[in-house]
Symmetry: C2
Subunit: 191 residues, 2 copies
DNA sequence: GGATATTGCCTATAGGTTGTAGGTCCCGTA
DNA sequence: TACGGGACCTACAACCTATAGGCAATATCC
């Protein structure tokens, strides 16, 4: 039998593609093996177990997303930067729903890998905030506000929770970002 | 053998308890049957299949949450109402992580049940907005802003994404709500 | 009160998924 | 050419989902 050329990254890329195509719920070791034309036990040399497979897709997704955000933020500041970060997240979630869903579930026993890329995302949020006059001691709170809005809206939209009402979610997006920008611009020191 | 007294609601309540205790991922038909001291096939008279079991827990959770929000909102308006709604969501997620996680995933093929209770949540958000001078044609956008912030923050917190940084997420919560309140108070008609 | 229908939960069974153990064959290297 | 390791295999055990069909307790009717 001919070798297929498996490796951890080949397995994870295939898994990510599968998650996007069939949903995160359909992501199984068996399905990835089928997709690769290989028997399921062959994957266990490259992936510890099913949970590790999902965590790997998480890491792939968060890394890809951070790369895109880095590119999108280049040369921008203030509201432009905020919009670029938020739009990049939203677009990524729409293009890669399975990957994005995987990125959302961080295990308590996060791998060192995930902690690392998580820090990258935090850095990016802080970079965006540099365009706003938020007092240093409040920056964590502002980061969390931005993260909440982006994560919340995108989750609701790709989860279909907004699909039942008019107008389409896309129309609310710039309005939500305008309010977020305003909230950051008018940030005041805490009494 | 003696009858245990199964019914859809008994099964779903047990499932919800199990989801909170062991995580939504550990929620299986078999586990619920074990918990009830019954064989797995016995549950299929009360629940169509595993997916229906999860959807049932979703509905239970969304209904319980809506009930709590109704009680919390009684007699409040404006910022107090906003805080009560948001706090109720956050508290529910912390007390019932499995139920809350189930409530988050709405299938595209949502049951009529889920659509119904989803409307209740939308009504509650609209009720909170009545305390703010948001122009009628913008209310949908404002609802989506509030829903995004609450959903995003709570997801990040219970998902552990905020656990790695200081200060604790609880300190950011009132600051985030203050900014949300401010964003609603200063809402302006769209040009 | 006894016959009958219904219901509640059962066993048996088939098929899919996870994960381990151990084997074979290809390929690079000495 | 012999050897060693890695890539992928088969075999297997355990668990979960789901269907089919059976028995017994309960409700209903005469």
């Amino acid at each position: 039998m001919s070798r297929v050329g498996l490796s951890r990254s080949v397995v994870l890329d295939t898994a990510a593609r599968l998650a996007d195509r069939d949903g995160l719920g359909a992501l199984t070791v068996s399905a990835v093996a089928r997709e690769l034309g290989v028997r399921a036990p062959s994957l266990y040399s490259h992936v510890q177990n099913a949970e590790d497979l999902r965590a790997g897709v998480s890491a792939v997704a968060l890394t890809e997303l951070a790369d895109r955000v880095d590119r999108a933020l280049a040369g921008l500041a203030g509201r432009d930067a905020l919009g670029a970060l938020a739009d990049t997240h939203r677009r990524y979630a729409r293009e890669h729903p399975g990957r994005y869903a995987a990125a959302g579930v961080l295990d308590p026993a996060s791998s060192h890998d995930l902690v690392q890329v998580g820090r990258r995302h935090a850095e990016q949020l802080l970079a965006v905030l540099r365009g706003y006059a938020v007092p240093p001691e409040d920056r964590v709170h502002a980061v969390r506000l931005v993260a909440s809005v982006v994560r919340g809206f995108v989750d609701l939209e790709v989860g279909g929770a907004l699909a039942g009402s008019e107008p389409p979610a896309a129309e609310s997006w710039p309005r939500v970002l305008e309010r977020l920008d305003h909230a950051l611009r008018t940030w005041e020191a805490h009494p």
